[in-house]
């Protein structure tokens, strides 16, 4: 950039990057997801994880949970742009460090190995509510729920126990206490 002769200014200071969780309530209709996602891709931002599902059949509402990393200014701009979209009802913006919000992800692990390996795996996952969904004499499918980084750690650690496949959801979020986000 520094040497090229362009018609635009060179960037001044680049702000600190922060990870944010955005929760977006939208009309459940075709193309709504691409409208939302377009605001990120149009700024060259990557979405780390995404969870979408209908949460209110009668009102036809879906809830989208997006984890992304960017400068605070750009995240704020995306939130304001999201609020302008016709099918968007409301938008919540949380920092990953926010203690008042619960973030959870689910993961499925396929372990191939003898029963002792599977037992060791279950033991290692003890903190994360492990459930065996399928078991044969040389394999098992185990479900856990945890935070993103905990799952990252587990997928690394379980390699030695015979972990051969991982499937995981995006984060979902909810505030603590009796109140809801409005």
């Amino acid at each position: 950039m520094a040497k090229s002769k362009s018609a635009y200014s060179i960037p001044s200071k680049i702000g600190k990057l922060e990870t944010h969780i955005l929760v977006v309530w939208v009309d459940n209709e075709a193309s709504v997801l691409s409208r939302v996602v377009g605001l990120f891709s149009g700024r060259g931002y990557n979405i780390e994880s995404l969870a979408v599902a209908e949460v209110d059949q009668k009102e036809n509402l879906s809830r989208i949970t997006i984890v992304t990393t960017g400068t605070p200014e750009v995240i704020k701009q995306i939130v304001l742009q999201l609020k302008k979209l016709v099918p968007v009802h409301k938008v919540a913006n949380f920092k990953r460090e926010d203690k008042n919000v619960i973030f959870k992800e689910m993961a499925l692990f396929k372990i191939v190995g003898n029963s002792s390996k599977i037992k060791k795996t279950l033991n290692a996952c003890k903190k994360f509510n492990p459930v065996i969904l399928d078991q044969t004499n040389k394999s098992a499918v185990i479900q856990i729920t945890a935070m993103r980084r905990e799952i990252d750690k587990m997928t690394k650690n379980l390699k030695s126990h015979g972990l051969i496949s991982v499937s995981r959801t995006g984060a979902v979020a909810m505030t603590r206490g009796a109140g809801i986000f409005n």
């Binding site: 362009s6 200014s9 193309s31 377009g38």
Partner: protein, 588 residues
């Protein structure tokens, strides 16, 4: 059993209900049922353009000069892709457009059918919203919503994609009066506390300035009236962006001229040195701010805008007022009058020093140029055009480049909606079709497209449209045979390497005019200019005016690359003293 109507009939009923008088379009396979229905609706007049981009720009010109939404009708595939430039242009400059596109029949969508494209996918980032109509029962509601979304809040383009089978399918049509009003997001969020804070800042300021933009024009003619009252009441100086020109009289003493890259010396210096900056309906565009870090460093900043996402996007402000410009100014003047009847006098005293400083800047006469009696200077041509047309209500459109900036600098506007130019997107080829739209909205008025010879060739085919509908638009070409702005940057920043900016083979514009069936006029020297311009104004037909101007003229003043507002480059004399640094070359 209520009567059933086809999708095409419902579409026209919706257009009639919205009081649409003109649509700009081009037929094709996927919109034939709509074109078939056209004959039954005499209140909606169809204007056949020669290229869909022309339809879009014509609708923009129509919308900007009349305040009503422009309506475009195009076919699927290439029809839709051709209109994308105009939609993006309207999105950048907040122009209300409703674009209706045909689509291949529902069962063929996604099969790469003939003239199929993913129209809603392609236009998603360049519209406020778009719809693919999948059921004819939704059509009426969608059309109603489309007009609402395009015209409320910050205006902009929308698109409704209607598959051919939906145009044939039948459904009920309920008159709107019975229909429940569909809720649109609340736009007025400011309260009295914000206004009080603004007035307190105004009271304290000793170097204030109003910086107004296209939002004032978009808010309607009332906003301009209120703005004039507010400026008179406060005695503050005012500057305007390119898009805001006309909302305040260009020849008034409190007006400092346009600001920004090619703005006046006094406007830019006042922006830099002020202690209170009140932005009304502008968006801190990068052509305005120059170097962000050094933008108006000593000022408190207030931003009045209807779009919350515009606030703090580029420049952090101290007070944000979200609302329609008309409402905000109205509350402000009301409160001013109620609270502090002497503000006018006390302020005038307090800011008299500020005005003295501004007068000093004014003596630089930054828009001056060295005139010639042998060759027509482009600035002189615009000045003469202004002098010879200012006694009548004239509408000006432009293309993009040097001529656009000279028009903005030397043509003085007194009313809003008289100045149509592509600012945000900078679309060459905008002005000619826009003039077509303006002339349709204002049949008896003088409409002039101040053009460059390179820009105008991009949409020249629309002359044929102008001739077909007897639209006496005047295409005033400042012909220097160069893409002038490109040439200027190459001269200043790229060691005079005029790479591909000279046009070797230009058409004979007079003969071209005759070929289209309009009038061609050529002016080559300053002596004949007035007479020829008068001839152009007097002809009641479309005119192409080929004005040969100085090829080497540059557009000054200019904020040079990488410099803040207070380090402007003035005319040729000043250049010797202020060479552009190599570091600055990056910035332009």
């Amino acid at each position: 059993m209520p009567k059933l109507y086809t999708g095409a009939e419902i579409l026209f009923k919706c257009l009639e209900e919205q009081k649409v008088k003109h649509i700009f379009g081009y037929p094709g396979g996927a919109v034939l049922p709509i074109y078939d229905e056209l004959k039954n609706h005499s209140s909606v007049k169809h204007i056949l353009v020669r290229h869909e981009q022309g339809a879009g720009h014509a609708a923009e010109g129509y919308a900007r000069s009349s305040g009503k939404p422009g309506v475009v009708l195009v076919t699927s595939g290439p029809g839709a892709t051709n209109v994308v430039t105009a939609l993006t242009d309207a999105y950048m400059d907040s122009v209300p457009l409703v674009c209706i596109s045909g689509q291949v029949p529902t069962h063929l969508i996604g099969t790469d059918a003939f003239q199929e494209c993913d129209t809603t996918g392609i236009t998603r980032p360049c519209t406020k919203h778009n719809w693919l109509v999948k059921d004819v029962k939704d059509l009426q509601r969608i059309m109603y919503q489309a007009f609402k979304v395009a015209t409320t809040g910050r205006p902009g383009p929308v698109l409704v994609d209607i598959p051919k089978d939906i145009q044939f399918a039948k459904a009920k049509y309920v008159s709107l009066k019975k229909e429940k009003k569909i809720e649109i997001k609340n736009k007025n969020r400011f309260n009295q506390k914000d206004i009080d804070q603004l007035i307190e800042l105004m009271n304290k300021a000793s170097k204030p300035i109003f910086y107004t933009g296209g939002g004032v024009v978009n808010s309607g003619p009332k906003a301009s009236e209120l703005l004039r009252e507010l400026v008179a009441l406060t005695g503050f100086p005012i500057t305007s962006t390119l898009q805001g020109l006309g909302s305040y009289p260009g020849d008034d003493n409190q007006f400092l001229g346009m600001l920004g890259m090619h703005g006046t010396y006094e406007a830019n210096n006042a922006m830099h040195d002020c202690d209170l900056l009140i932005n009304i309906g502008a968006r801190f565009d990068d052509r305005i701010t120059g170097k962000i870090d050094e933008f108006s460093p000593k000022s408190k900043k207030v931003h009045i805008d209807i779009d919350p996402s515009s606030i703090n996007k580029i420049i952090k402000v101290d007070l944000a007022i979200v609302g329609d410009v008309t409402d905000v100014i109205n509350s402000t003047t009301k409160t001013l009058k109620k609270k502090n009847l002497n503000l006018e006098k006390s302020n005038k005293q307090k800011i008299s020093k500020w005005w003295q400083q501004i007068q000093k800047w004014r003596t630089k006469q930054s828009l001056n140029f060295i005139n010639s009696d042998k060759i027509i200077k482009p600035q002189y041509a615009v000045q003469r055009l202004y002098e010879l047309t200012k006694n009548q209500d004239t509408f000006i459109t432009t293309e993009v480049g040097q001529h656009q900036m000279w028009a903005a600098q030397h043509y003085k506007f007194n009313k809003p909606n008289r100045w149509m130019t592509s600012g945000g997107l900078g679309t060459m080829g905008y002005g000619l079709p826009a003039a077509v739209g303006v002339q349709l909205a204002h049949p008896k008025k003088l409409v002039v497209d101040i053009a460059g010879e390179a820009s105008v060739l991009m949409t020249m085919q629309e002359m044929s449209t102008a001739v077909q509908y007897n639209l006496p638009i005047k295409i005033f070409i400042l012909n220097n045979q160069y893409m002038g702005m490109v040439r200027q940057w190459q001269e200043l920043l790229h060691e005079k390497n005029y790479s591909e900016s000279y046009t070797e083979a230009l058409p004979d514009f007079v003969k071209l005019a005759e070929a289209y069936g309009c009038v061609g006029i050529r002016a080559k020297n300053p002596d004949e200019l007035d007479e020829k311009i008068q001839e152009m104004i007097n002809v009641d037909k479309p005119v192409i005016f080929d004005c040969h101007v100085d090829q080497a003229e540059n557009c000054f003043p200019m904020i040079p690359s990488g410099k803040p507002h207070n380090q402007m480059l003035l005319g040729p004399k000043d250049q010797e003293e202020n060479k552009i640094t190599s570091k600055g070359k990056v910035l332009v």
